[in-house]
């Protein structure tokens, strides 16, 4: 499988630049997920790789060869579309075999391939149905099947699950992850759903405003977000942000804001040595707040519980901290009541700090 490289890829619509010089390298047989809010340029990037959008400047390399001047059909890739893009007048078998029939492959080979893929996707009983006679999930499977019969080196997915209802989406996500294990190809997947991104990706590329914000493994991005956008985008419920002042008290650095004053440990003190006196955005994930009535106030937040969203085993508390809304995730059987003032301990190693002006992560 080839490696794919984007070099200073730019897209202009008229005078409006929507992609600002994207640099990205995708390794052999890697599952890359482009994720970001709508309008961030992720779909445009994918469509440029597919050849459905022209490249304004920059270049796409496959195994070192520039391909941006090639027609989609000459790029050796298959694509799954958000609205499935099935051919309405062809039955499932015809839909899946369209590319092979255009290539004038022998009938035997086509039939063999179709029955293999249909078997794998559980579509064997539906081969003679037209797309209109299928449910959403089945249509989605046919779209995948059509891509799979192609034997292309690269698969592109443009928000393939976003037209499905919530339950089906979870199921198809799992099926995709299973398929991923069997099919060793380059896969580039676009989604706005960070859960899809986290669960499927070898490498996540977080995009916003036509720029790549950060890329790396899901774990790396979750633990070490490079800026406030990435920190707030990945993870549900999203990260809490609080404004705090850095000050020095005795030999310790203290992060203080309305309603809290946190004392840093040795490690954080050393890291923040140069920032004393400045302001900082404090980021804490809801799962990193630990309910602990006995906690010391130097290492905990005192929160007023306003609302509890019961999810099942877990609940999300929406709390107030001197006017700021803070979300906390904890086990549903924790004995707490609404309206209470509770203490939540914070492990300083889990705290993320961001420069309030540039929004970049500190240290």
């Amino acid at each position: 499988m080839p490696s794919i490289q984007l070099q200073q890829l730019t897209k202009l619509y008229g005078n409006l630049e929507v992609l600002h010089g994207i640099d990205l390298e995708m390794q052999d047989a890697e599952f890359t997920v482009l994720v970001g809010p709508s309008g961030c340029g992720k779909s445009t990037t994918l469509r440029m790789i597919a050849g459905l959008e022209t490249v304004s400047s920059g270049e796409i390399f496959v195994d070192g060869k520039p391909i941006s001047h090639l027609e989609p059909k000459d790029r050796d890739l298959a694509m799954v579309f958000q609205d499935y893009a099935l051919y309405p007048h062809m039955n499932v078998a015809k839909n899946m075999s369209f590319a092979l029939r255009l290539q004038k492959r022998p009938k035997k080979e086509i039939n063999k391939k179709i029955s293999e893929v249909a078997e794998m996707l559980g579509l064997t009983d539906y081969l003679h149905r037209k797309p209109a006679e299928l449910s959403g999930g089945q249509r989605q499977r046919v779209a995948m099947g059509r891509a799979l019969t192609r034997d292309s080196s690269t698969f592109l997915f443009d928000e393939p699950l976003s037209n499905l209802d919530a339950k089906l989406r979870t199921q198809m996500r799992a099926e995709l992850a299973m398929m991923r294990k069997r099919v060793h190809k380059n896969m580039i997947y676009v989604t706005h759903d960070q859960i899809e991104a986290m669960t499927l990706a070898d490498r996540i590329v977080v995009m916003s405003g036509g720029y790549i914000q950060q890329q790396g493994t899901p774990e790396h991005l979750f633990k070490h977000p490079i800026n406030k956008f990435v920190a707030g985008f990945l993870g549900t419920p999203p990260m809490n942000f609080l404004k705090a002042d850095i000050s020095r008290q005795a030999d310790r650095t203290v992060l203080a804001g309305p309603g809290f004053s946190l004392q840093c440990d040795n490690q954080a003190t050393a890291k923040l040595a140069n920032f004393s006196g400045s302001q900082v955005d404090l980021g804490i994930r809801p799962s990193d707040l630990i309910f602990d009535p006995a906690a010391d106030s130097a290492e905990s937040l005192q929160l007023h519980v306003e609302l509890s969203e019961y999810i099942g085993a877990q609940s999300v508390l929406i709390c107030d901290c001197a006017g700021e809304k803070i979300m906390v995730e904890l086990k549903s059987d924790t004995p707490i009541a609404l309206g209470e003032q509770l203490k939540f301990r914070i492990n300083m190693a889990d705290v993320h700090l961001f420069d309030p002006a540039s929004e970049h992560a500190l240290v």
Binding site: P72, K73, Q82, Y84, A85, Y87, H89, F98, A132, R146
Partner: protein
């Protein structure tokens, strides 16, 4: 009358003016014609004074070689113009379905002929076909190619050309609308699946446009069977009977031959032909609806 009854009747009240006009302008003359077609009827007589002749008018027409000739001319004319217009209209739509600078102006220009009154079109083409001063023969002679006897020897071909010029735009705009409502992503999928421009047209675009094309074709066919003004102005049916389409023969039978009963019977033959086409069109739409409903049902039930 209670308020709720009035409320329920409102839609019908709104329909009444249209119904009245329909009755006066369509149903009454139609009934008059059907009634008249069974009678021996001279224009000097009032209809109640005429003699009932049963199916005699229909039978004599059935055996009349001139009527056959007229029917053949009409069929030849209708099928040749519609098939050529379909090819050119759909072809133009396929060519112009893209975003180029000035495309909207170009599209407007293409549909202009359709907006000109048929009589004007007839006059225009008659002048252009004029044997000595018409632009066609002047140009041909200027190039040293000799003149063509457009409205004489090649009268049917000439009126066919004029009709194609006027009505291709109708097929063009409907095909273009059909093309632009095709699912974009299916076409993109076809490009990725490796379809060339031609293959996209043959395997994706044309099959998906087919429902619109079939209805357009039938509409055009119905219209072509009723053509009158252009031919009346250009050739008056001549030379001989070579361009005498049914509508012309009907009017000549009524006015020149003074046989209103026969003319009415002929109108009824034409009406039956058109009804057949209309029923085909409605039946086709019904089939599509039933098929779509069946697909929906299968999709919902058969998981």
């Amino acid at each position: 009358m209670s308020y709720s009854t009035l409320n329920r009747l409102t839609p019908y009240i709104f329909l009444v003016p249209a119904l009245v006009i329909m009755a006066i302008a369509l149903i009454y003359p139609l009934g008059y014609m059907v009634y008249g077609s069974f009678r021996s009827w001279d224009p000097s007589q009032a209809l109640p004074d005429t003699d009932f002749v049963g199916l005699a008018n229909y039978i004599s027409l059935w055996n009349d070689p001139n009527f056959h000739e007229s029917l053949m001319v009409t069929l030849k004319f209708a099928f040749s113009v519609v098939s050529i217009e379909m090819v050119i209209g759909v072809g133009l739509a396929l060519l112009l379905d893209r975003n180029l600078r000035g495309m909207s102006l170009l599209r407007t220009l293409f549909i202009l002929p359709m907006m000109i009154a048929p009589v004007v079109v007839g006059l225009m083409w008659r002048y252009m076909y004029h044997p000595s001063v018409g632009i066609f023969n002047r140009s041909l002679e200027g190039m040293g190619l000799g003149s063509v006897d457009w409205l004489g020897q090649h009268a049917l071909l000439s009126v066919v050309i004029a009709d194609i010029w006027q009505w291709t735009p109708f097929i063009f705009i409907l095909s273009l609308a059909a093309l632009q409502s095709l699912p974009r992503s299916a076409l993109e999928a076809a490009r990725i699946d490796g379809a060339t421009g031609w293959q996209q047209i043959i395997h994706i675009k044309l099959p998906l446009m087919m429902p619109v094309l079939i209805v357009t074709c039938l509409l055009r066919l119905i219209d072509a069977f009723k053509v009158l003004e252009v031919i009346l102005v250009m050739t008056e049916g001549g030379p001989g009977l070579s361009t005498e389409i049914l509508a012309l023969r009907i009017s000549r039978t009524a006015t020149e031959f003074r046989e209103l009963g026969v003319a009415a019977a002929m109108s009824n033959y034409l009406l039956m032909l058109l009804l057949l086409l209309t029923i085909m069109m409605l039946a086709y739409n019904k089939v599509l609806e039933v098929r779509a409903a069946r697909a929906r049902r299968i999709a919902e039930e058969g998981l």
